[in-house]
């Protein structure tokens, strides 16, 4: 009996009461205050903060040196002051954030593989250049990056800070566009492409989420609102600036198409091609009777005055040559994610 009592005392001392401990390296972790999004709908994805490592020292190859991509792999492209860089999804799937610079801009290319959304964020926070990391948390199954300057948490699709010292502030974004590797090679053969020398050994030949990209019935985490007007994983361009939110499905564009539309009183121009796998959106400044241009990438459209527009919105020929169309705040992603974040989002229809 004495032995049994000893064992019971031992286990009680060893176990104590149920508890959870957090020992953050950032002192503000436990004092960050309220979330601006419902905290019960934020999920711990499993790997933990920075458990999915961002790439903070990206290295690049020339297009003709790249041998790890297939033609259908998607690329996120950034064009700024004549410098062109490509960030392949097969690397973004594993790292989700690339902290990089082009010329005078420092940006974090944030990509969420579960919502298929990629957005480039300004890395100047409160006047300080910083980097972004993967918090390991998800809201509406979407990435929540954190900035390493203030340890504030940001919602990728909402484009604002949802927790921490900067809660409520909006993030400044830079224009990007998404297309396939096949199209990218034709459009920007002299560009630089993020290579697999990321500092981490990962199998970049393998997509880490099985059939997730194409299985419309498969979500890994709940979303606050299920919008089933389009298939969940249908790729759309979501326009998220201003009051009106509108989605343009890749299925609208076929071989190629130019859509002249208006949003919040501003004329906009949507150019896309399902076969070349891209949709881009710009404010329409004095261009009329636009038509799609085939087989002359990166030129994708031309107006009746001969102004020729590239995928990044540069006008490279015509009376307005040398000017740049103003991009509309937009990014590609799976439809369900826009439906969850922007309940009732308009879907463009002919």
């Amino acid at each position: 009996m004495k032995n049994i009592l000893f064992l019971l005392v031992f286990i009680l001392l060893a176990c104590g009461s149920s508890e959870t401990q957090t020992n953050p390296q950032q002192p503000s972790e436990n004092t960050r205050g309220e979330w601006l999004i419902p905290s019960e709908e934020i999920f711990d994805g499993g790997p933990g903060k920075d458990g999915i490592p961002s790439v903070d020292d990206p290295k690049f190859d020339d297009v003709d040196e790249v041998n790890f991509l297939n033609d259908n792999d998607l690329i996120i492209g950034v064009v700024h002051n004549g410098e062109v860089k490509a960030y392949p999804h097969p690397i973004l799937d594993w790292h989700e954030i690339i902290n990089d610079e082009i010329d005078d801009i420092a940006f974090a290319l944030t990509y969420c593989p579960l919502t298929g959304t990629g957005v480039a964020w300004d890395r100047i926070i409160n006047g300080t250049k910083t980097t972004f990391g993967v918090s390991g948390k998800l809201y509406n199954t979407n990435l929540i990056p954190y900035d390493r300057a203030t340890d504030s948490y940001w919602s990728q699709i909402r484009l604002d800070c949802v927790n921490g010292d900067l809660a409520g502030e909006e993030i400044k974004t830079f224009p990007i566009f998404e297309t396939s590797w096949k199209t990218w090679k034709k459009a920007y053969p002299d560009s630089k492409v993020l290579n697999t020398d990321t500092g981490f050994s990962r199998n970049y030949d393998e997509y880490p989420y099985g059939d997730y990209q194409t299985n419309n019935s498969r979500l890994l985490f709940p979303v606050s609102f299920v919008d089933d007007r389009l298939p969940a994983k249908e790729r759309v361009l979501g326009l998220v600036s201003g009051e009106t939110k509108r989605a343009y499905s890749i299925e609208l564009f076929g071989e190629s198409r130019v859509i002249q539309d208006q949003i919040d009183g501003t004329d906009i121009l949507i150019v896309g091609s399902k076969s070349d796998n891209y949709i881009v959106a710009f404010e329409n400044q004095n261009l009329s009777n636009l038509s799609h241009v085939a087989n002359q990438l990166p030129v994708i459209a031309e107006d009746d005055l001969g102004n020729r527009i590239t995928m990044s919105g540069e006008i490279v020929a015509g009376p307005l040559a040398g000017s740049q169309l103003k991009p509309v705040d937009s990014f590609m992603g799976f439809f369900f994610s826009f439906g969850a974040f922007y309940e009732g989002i308009e879907i463009f229809e002919d």
């Binding site: 957090t22 499993g46 948390k137």
Partner: protein
């Protein structure tokens, strides 16, 4: 007397994995031991077990990768009670306390609490002086804590919880033969299968229905040898074996979760000291030798543990 003791000790310390997701760390159950209870009529035993599991190998399918910013470990302290009603039937109950730790370059998260209650019953099909065959069936009752929260008060992931929130079932069988090739050498084989239930309300609140999660079902076979060496002050019993484990992918929202499940091959070793029939102490370790996992996972690189058993026979 020696053979009778050998029969009793034959399975001691050989994991039957009654414990499952309550002790999961990154999809790997901590092998809280649920060995076959003594077949002595009216015997009662109490067992205290403590196990430490290091989970620091990053494996992509069957390839080990470097530069993982994560590290994990799990500790499990459990109290187990066995009661043998007669020479055929025995019953066990297991109360685990589970500690999970997850560390990255940016934060350290820990959870500690009560795990799920394991209940097991055993039927002795065959028991002769040199052979023994048992079948077991068990259930895990979801009494463990599934509400551990981490930084910013966000609910930790299911594999960081000490409880599962689901009811799970296990069936298994074990066979052993003593005097296998050599006197006092025994050979054993244990196999079991467990169905892991689904927690359909993980993280639910008054305003939120929560999410659906289930750990993958699991099949395990372990086989090995034990040898009873007689000392002047009792018995020394080394054991060694091989364990093969298959686990289905976890389920998230009703669909297979990526980067979970797979196959593992490991080598368990142990050394027991038995001063007399009523007490024993065992040290053990388990080392992985091969994995073939679904996708990228962090997985166990070693396990160590210690076990105390006190047995009282009322007859």
């Amino acid at each position: 007397m020696v053979y009778r003791l050998l029969t009793i000790l034959m399975f001691q310390g050989i994991a039957i994995h009654m414990q499952a997701q309550t002790c999961c760390s990154a999809g790997v159950p901590i092998s809280t031991f649920m060995e076959i209870a003594s077949s002595e009529k009216n015997s009662f035993s109490i067992q205290l077990n403590h196990e430490y599991r290091s989970i620091n190998w990053l494996v992509d399918n069957n390839t080990r990768l470097e530069n993982d910013p994560r590290s994990r470990y799990g500790q499990n302290t459990s109290l187990k009670f066995d009661y043998s009603l007669n020479s055929k039937w025995a019953f066990s109950a297991l109360i685990p306390f589970v500690h999970h730790s997850r560390n990255t370059t940016s934060e350290s998260q820990n959870s500690f609490g009560l795990g799920d209650l394991g209940l097991l019953m055993q039927y002795n099909v065959l028991s002769k002086s040199l052979y023994s065959l048992n079948v077991v069936a068990g259930i895990d009752l979801p009494i463990g804590n599934t509400s551990h929260r981490g930084s910013s008060q966000i609910l930790l992931s299911p594999d960081m919880q000490s409880g599962s929130g689901s009811m799970d079932f296990l069936v298994g069988t074990s066979y052993a033969k003593t005097d296998f090739l050599l006197p006092f050498l025994s050979h054993f084989v244990i196999a079991n299968y467990r169905w892991n239930g689904t927690n359909d309300s993980f993280g639910s609140t008054a305003n939120f229905n929560g999410r659906s999660f289930a750990f993958g079902d699991e099949f395990m076979v372990v086989t090995g040898f034990r040898y009873m060496h007689t000392l002047s002050a009792g018995f020394l019993i080394p054991d060694a074996g091989v364990r093969i484990r298959w686990q289905d992918p976890n389920s998230e929202q009703g669909a297979d979760a990526p980067n979970s499940g797979g196959r593992w091959l490991s080598l368990p070793f142990g050394l027991s000291f038995v001063p007399d029939k009523s007490k024993s102490i065992r040290l053990y370790t388990e080392l992985p030798i091969y994995q073939n996992l679904n996708g990228l996972q962090i997985t166990t690189n070693f396990t160590v543990g210690i076990q105390f058993i006190y047995t009282r026979n009322r007859t």
